[in-house]
């Protein structure tokens, strides 16, 4: 027979003002199974908690119901009190008599009766509570960071400095990401590579970080604290132990006309190449798709000149597996190319470029050594037009969102242009100016007031080429939609930020959700920006949505702290309110029939298939099994199960049924 203790709290006058607490305690004492019932002014106070602990010990209670405020407030408090008195904390429940009763009703018979009903239903529930033990799952203290841009670099350094091992993988031959392509950063106009490269070197030299470049994630299995990652190390055709990074091979390669990805298509590179001079690691790779030897079987000039014999043709991709405890996704983003815009030339006009290409022109290590020159004829443009919101905020083009960084970098580009081309005229066609960071608005003001950039509020309908010039037809809405036509030498489109190619496939490999633009989804838009719905997988940076460098770095550190927090314990302790599939003796083994409707429904892929075999190894039946490390306790599977073979601790079928019955039966 149950021995339930019921404690009704007055909460000062909060509850007692409208509910007759003494009467509630009296009525509840009459319920079968209630051993002890009392009411007291403040149950959550020290003396109140002592009352509970004493009652548990003296009366031998095997269940406790506290009728007081919302469980969302004090459930941990009372559960801890029970645990300290020796009663399993999961045998304690709370009836919400304050937020759901005394605070929302007037004083009266009906309110007191409702309070009595609520406590009764919780008493019936507690009678069927089972003692539960917290689940412990071991944790591998190694993190995998996918993507070597500034977000991945920052996250790796933070996790490594916290004393944990990190594996950083990057699919390009060097880390650095888009930040290494920038010339200067807003709002300080710091040289981007100058602030980035020291971090890149730190990553390469850090004892806790293992860096794999030219590598991609092949697959990920397992669950939080216990992942197994398989990583494909693409063949670089170089023996990294022998290569000294002298760079001689890159000067001898005859195949020089390959468009350079680092220079956003504006420059060229060789087939054996280092993407940029400050690359980390500073060792070349051979691009198999363009190398004459790999395509046609001839050449091998680099091999002849290499002083250490580091070139190793016919190297194969290698797949390695690593045991990982947590994953941080920092794969970044990309920007639309100019061929997306029919009204701006479909990419045919060489002098219509996007923001990233302009960065390369402005960069001292770029194809024009920092001089702004037209890609078509190399002349310096005297009139340049910047078009903001090219593609962004445009539902007709399928991109309704704002790409956040373009207003700032357009102002920066215009300023750089004015600094480099004295006497040049620059125009920015804008819709709004979004300069919401620290010193951002002052930066844009500087562009307008000090550097003389002409800001025109309106959109550009068309750009076309005529006699070597680009005719820009726009409108000035602040002057009443007056048409504006400019004969420009160069047009720069601030194109929309989009998800990287392959983002969808990566998300599916990792089982993380993504939205319709292929940006990865955070667990909660306000309160969990760096977590995903998959336990143990975090994200940071522009792979979640376009953002600027300070936000990216902030998120990366945030994700690193989540990882460090996860690794700060040897075992992961989780609340045991999870689902369980029943098991029984042979020949039934389980009432589960193996239809696996639950497996399809589970949002966390926590349901696995277990094969039940006989002594000869033949499979008798396949039933469902819950992975306690992954189950979050939503109970959706329980409601699906036709044969009621799954139940969830804490909200079991019996408990919930008893609650409903008790609420209605007076």
């Amino acid at each position: 027979m149950s021995k339930i203790g019921v404690f009704i709290c007055h909460c000062g006058e909060n509850i007692n003002g409208t509910v007759d607490c003494h009467k509630v305690a009296e009525e509840i004492a009459k319920v079968e199974g209630v051993e002890y019932a009392l009411d007291y002014k403040y149950m959550c106070s020290d003396p109140g908690q002592t009352l509970i602990k004493q009652a548990i010990k003296e009366k031998g209670l095997d269940g406790v119901v506290v009728g007081s405020c919302s469980p969302r407030m004090h459930e941990p408090t009372f559960r801890r009190a029970c645990a300290e008195a020796g009663l399993n904390p999961y045998l304690c429940e709370m009836a919400n008599l304050r937020e759901h009763c005394s605070w929302v009703h007037e004083k009266g018979e009906a309110t007191t009766q409702k309070a009595i009903d609520l406590v009764k239903s919780l008493v019936e529930k507690v009678k069927r509570n089972k003692p539960l033990v917290n689940i412990e799952v071991p944790v591998t203290k190694k993190a995998l960071v996918i993507g070597g841009g500034i977000a991945g670099i920052q996250a790796s350094l933070d996790i490594a400095n916290a004393g944990h091992k990190v594996i950083l993988i990057e699919k390009d031959p060097s880390i650095g990401g888009h930040m290494s392509q920038l010339s200067e950063t807003f709002p300080t106009l710091d040289c981007s590579q100058c602030i980035l490269t020291p971090r890149m070197v730190e990553v390469a030299q850090h004892p806790n970080i293992t860096l794999y470049t030219y590598a991609e994630l092949e697959g990920l299995e397992g669950f939080i604290g216990n992942f197994k990652a398989s990583i494909r190390l693409k063949a670089k055709s170089i023996d990294e132990k022998l290569c000294t990074g002298c760079g001689l091979c890159t000067t001898k390669c005859p195949n020089k006309k390959i468009p350079s990805e680092f220079n956003a298509g504006l420059g060229t590179r060789t087939a054996i190449y280092v993407p940029f001079p400050q690359a980390v690691p500073n060792k070349p790779v051979i691009d198999k798709e363009h190398c004459t030897y790999y395509q046609k079987g001839k050449c091998r000039v680099c091999e002849k000149f290499c002083p250490t014999g580091a070139i190793t043709f016919n190297q194969e991709d290698r797949i390695i597996t690593e045991e990982i405890g947590a994953v941080v996704i920092t794969t970044g983003f990309n920007v639309l190319k100019t061929d997306y815009f029919p009204e701006y030339g479909y990419g045919k006009y060489k002098d219509v470029i996007n923001g990233l290409q302009f960065e390369r022109l402005a960069s001292a290590s770029g194809p024009t050594y920092g001089e702004i020159r037209r890609p078509s004829d190399g002349k310096i443009p005297q009139k340049i037009v910047f078009i903001a919101c090219a593609g962004s905020r445009d539902p007709a083009k399928g991109i309704p969102y704002c790409s956040k960084i373009c207003c700032m970098y357009t102002a920066k580009h215009a300023m750089l242009y004015q600094h480099k081309v004295h006497g040049g005229e620059s125009y920015v066609f804008y819709m709004d100016i979004r300069a919401a960071g620290k010193n951002y608005d002052e930066f844009v003001r500087r562009a307008i007031e000090e550097d003389g950039v002409n800001y025109v509020r309106g959109r550009v309908a068309r750009v076309y080429e005529k006699d070597g010039k680009l005719i820009v037809k726009g409108v000035d809405t602040l002057l009443g939609a007056k048409p504006v036509e400019i004969e420009a030498d160069m047009v720069v489109l601030a194109t929309a930020g989009i998800a990287n190619k392959g983002a969808e496939q990566l998300a599916q490999k990792l089982h993380v959700s993504y939205d319709s633009y292929n940006f990865f989804a955070e667990a909660h838009p306000k309160l969990k920006p760096v977590e995903t719905n998959t336990a143990g997988i975090f994200l940071a940076g522009a792979c979640q949505s376009p953002k600027d460098i300070p936000e990216t770095v902030g998120m990366a550190s945030g994700a690193a702290v989540k990882v460090a927090g996860l690794f700060s314990q040897d075992k992961l302790v989780r609340e045991p309110l999870i689902a369980v599939v029943n098991r029984s003796a042979p020949p039934i083994f389980s009432t589960c029939v193996g239809c696996f409707m639950c497996q399809t429904a589970c949002p966390y892929q926590a349901i696995e298939r277990e094969e039940i075999k006989n002594r000869n190894g033949e499979i008798i039946k396949t039933v469902a099994k819950i992975n306690p490390g992954l189950c979050q306790g939503c109970g959706t599977c329980v409601a699906f199960c036709r044969s009621k073979s799954i139940d969830i601790q804490g909200y079991s079928n019996e408990q919930v049924y008893a609650e409903v019955m008790a609420l209605l039966n007076n």
Binding site: S70, P71, R72, N96, R98, E99, H100, W103, V104, H105, E106, G108, E109, A110, T111, Q113, K114, D117, L118, S121, S513, N533, L577, A601, P603, Y604, Q632, G633, C634, G635, T636, V638, A639, F640, I648, G650, Y651, N653, V656, Y657, A658, E659, V660, M661, L663, L664, N665
Partner: protein, 152 residues
Amino acid sequence: MDNITEFEPKIVAFVCNWCTYAGADLTGTSRLKYATNFKIIRFPCTGRIDYMLLLKAFAEGADGIIVSGCHPNDCHYTSGNFHARRRWVVFRGLLDFFGIDVRRICFSWVSAAEGGKWADLVNSTVAEIRELGAYKEYQKVAGYLEKEECNE
């Protein structure tokens, strides 16, 4: 004592812990007032709510039911409310075909910030059920053989 001749409906609310329960808490903290006729049962997620519980509630004397959870896309467990929604669409259609009064079951999405919406919802549901009256047809059928019913 309430006037015995005036009918006071009995309503049970099945709510999810993360949104609607928190929303109801907010209604309490904001001291908004609503009718006493209904009582809340807490579930971790709307996905957990078994449709047979709704029928059991009617059989035990409930005149109306409220089922409420997180807005689509906001589910704390990502998709429990999506599954619940499909289940409700199918169940409601079936009940309607059976002739069970589906006006007595009120489904809603109430988020943790919508304390006011919860109060309005409860008040309007209580008023609607009061108009519809006690669910005598179902209770008559359920009450048959009452003496032989198992005590759970």
